[in-house]
Amino acid sequence: MLAMNFRGPFRVRADRNMPEPRIEHPEDAIVKVLRSCICGSDLHLYHGLVPDTRTGSTFGHEFIGEVVEVGPSVQKLKVGDRVMVPFNIACGKCAFCKQELYGNCHESNPMATAVGGIFGYSHTAGGFQGGQAEYARVPYADVGPTVIPDWMDPDDAVLLTDVVPTGYQAAEMAGIQKGDTVVVFGAGPIGIMAAKCAWLFGAGRVIIIDELEYRLEFAAKYAQCEAYNFHSIGDPVVFIKTQTDSLGADVCIDAVGCEAKGNMMNTLLGMKLLLQGGSTTALHWAINSVKKSGIVSIVGVYGPIDALVPIGNVVNKGITIRANQAAVKRNLPKLIEHVRNGILNPKEIITHRIPMEEVADAYHIFSRKLDGCIKTVLIPPTA
């Protein structure tokens, strides 16, 4: 079948000879992929920043598809169902899944205990092939996959597999109270969605910070928030202090993760030498911009190795840090309602629809931020 094939940093190809997935476990399903996004976190893999990203891997953890085969133990899902597939692979039975922590399943990734299984996200996240392919193997088919309602646009559905739930959970974890000033670092799809969702929790002011003008413009419109370029506001931490009468923001959200720009040492240690789990500049700004006793919510992805953070300030300011991979399935019912009621319009962030055959160009465009790219959807030829 046709699938994305990772050959090394900055090198991927659309490969017609990739093996088709098979049922490998009684609770597996095989889906024919209808839409598959490239995620900002796929770029961390693409750039070679995640350890144990093996040559021959297929990425893709944001996809929807039609069920074409189910394993003998699958009860709820049927052949022909069109489903959105949450990016986390969760068993539904372990102590963590039982508490709706679907991003922390203990039965989906033998390779690391710190992270649950994720589709197409390196062997550090379980060694599963991803959805940037014509077909994908979906384990625990009765747990994660959710039938797409008839009224829902497939472009909205594919964004409910990660972008919307992760952006929403970023705001949820931030414990936003009515009237709070919320600062979001990073105006990628997740940051934009987090800014949008902050209002649903009653934020009084939402500020988004990035370096790309076209994204800031988009974010300001889409999320109806203030948007600032960190190259033109001086030190972002000082800027936030001036905006909050010197007290700091009530809440800061790190929606950047390991490829944060803006600090040379972090870039060198985290992105060039790979001696820390990524560049922590956004997190550093978040910790230093939040008020004493404030909350820092992290959804940006970092590598598994240690990374520099101003931990002394966390202690002295009494900051609460909340972070997790989004438990997609937990919030899906609520988010589906928000889409139905027009409160959230996920598909509006899609800027590029690219045939899967052109996956190498698609990655390059997204990586280099060419052509006003915010969110790319890959369309398989058979979809």
């Binding site: 050959r7 090394g8 940093p9 090198r11 991927v12 490998e24 476990h25 609770e27 750039h47 070679g48 350890p51 144990d52 093996r54 040559t55 297929t58 133990s73 692979i89 068993c91 039975k93 372990c94 039982k98 508490q99 709706e100 203990h106 039965e107 033998p110 390779m111 205990t113 710190a114 299984g117 062997h123 060694g127 599963f128 092939q129 384990p139 625990y140 949820e172 109270q177 209002w199 649903l200 929790f201 009084g204 002011r205 001086g234 030190d235 000082v238 001036t242 009468d245 992105m271 909350i295 598994p304 190795i305 609460t320 190498a360 160009d361 698609a362 390059h364 465009i365 990586s367 280099r368």
Partner: protein, 180 residues
């Protein structure tokens, strides 16, 4: 940074605002969400230990490297790209260490780089010459960022000229000019 300098007049309070134009404003507000609720539907299931009724075990008919921090393979796992070649040896070595150790991650980073080279050798062995230009998506650079594309081509050409003229030169370095 000089721009860090501030004057008292720079500091301002947020003004009270009207949110009527924002659809769904405050719809999910929850005064109890501070700070531990509701991320975990707490029932202390983990106090029972690793004792839940496990899903059926997937057959391990390919080599799976397992974290030393757990007793067994998880019920499901991915079977893509089992460890092979020199990079596989490095990965096996890495998995002797805990996730808490540099011994685990640094060899994996190295293995990934070695794996890339072995991937090219593997391609060639199968009679496939990888089209690195296409794999790097440079066609889109030509389409959307032409000046940079031309500069890049000029730079590559210059390097090639130098490389050819210095006959003693070694293999070309892997480039990561897409980086920043």
């Amino acid at each position: 940074m000089l721009t860090d300098e501030t004057k008292p007049a720079d500091f301002k309070k947020s003004e009270a605002a009207d949110y009527s134009h924002i659809k769904g404003w405050g719809i999910d507000a929850d005064p109890e969400n501070d700070p531990v609720y509701p991320m975990k539907n707490r029932n202390n299931a983990e106090h029972e230990g690793y004792a839940w009724k496990r899903p059926a075990q997937q057959n391990d008919n390919v080599e799976i490297l397992k974290s030393v921090e757990r007793p067994n393979l998880t019920a499901v796992f991915g079977t893509a790209s089992p460890p092979e070649g020199l990079n596989g040896k490095l990965r096996r070595f890495a998995f002797k260490y805990s996730e808490s150790s540099y011994g685990r991650w640094l060899p994996l980073v190295l293995a990934d780089r070695v794996g890339e080279v072995e991937g090219i050798i593997d391609d060639l062995k199968k009679g496939h010459v990888p089209n690195i230009f296409a794999e790097r998506g440079w066609g889109s650079e030509w389409k959307h960022n032409r000046t940079n594309f031309l500069l890049k081509v000029a730079a590559v050409a210059a390097v090639a000229v130098v490389a050819v003229s210095v006959l003693s030169s070694n293999k070309e370095n892997g480039d990561n000019d897409d980086g920043l």
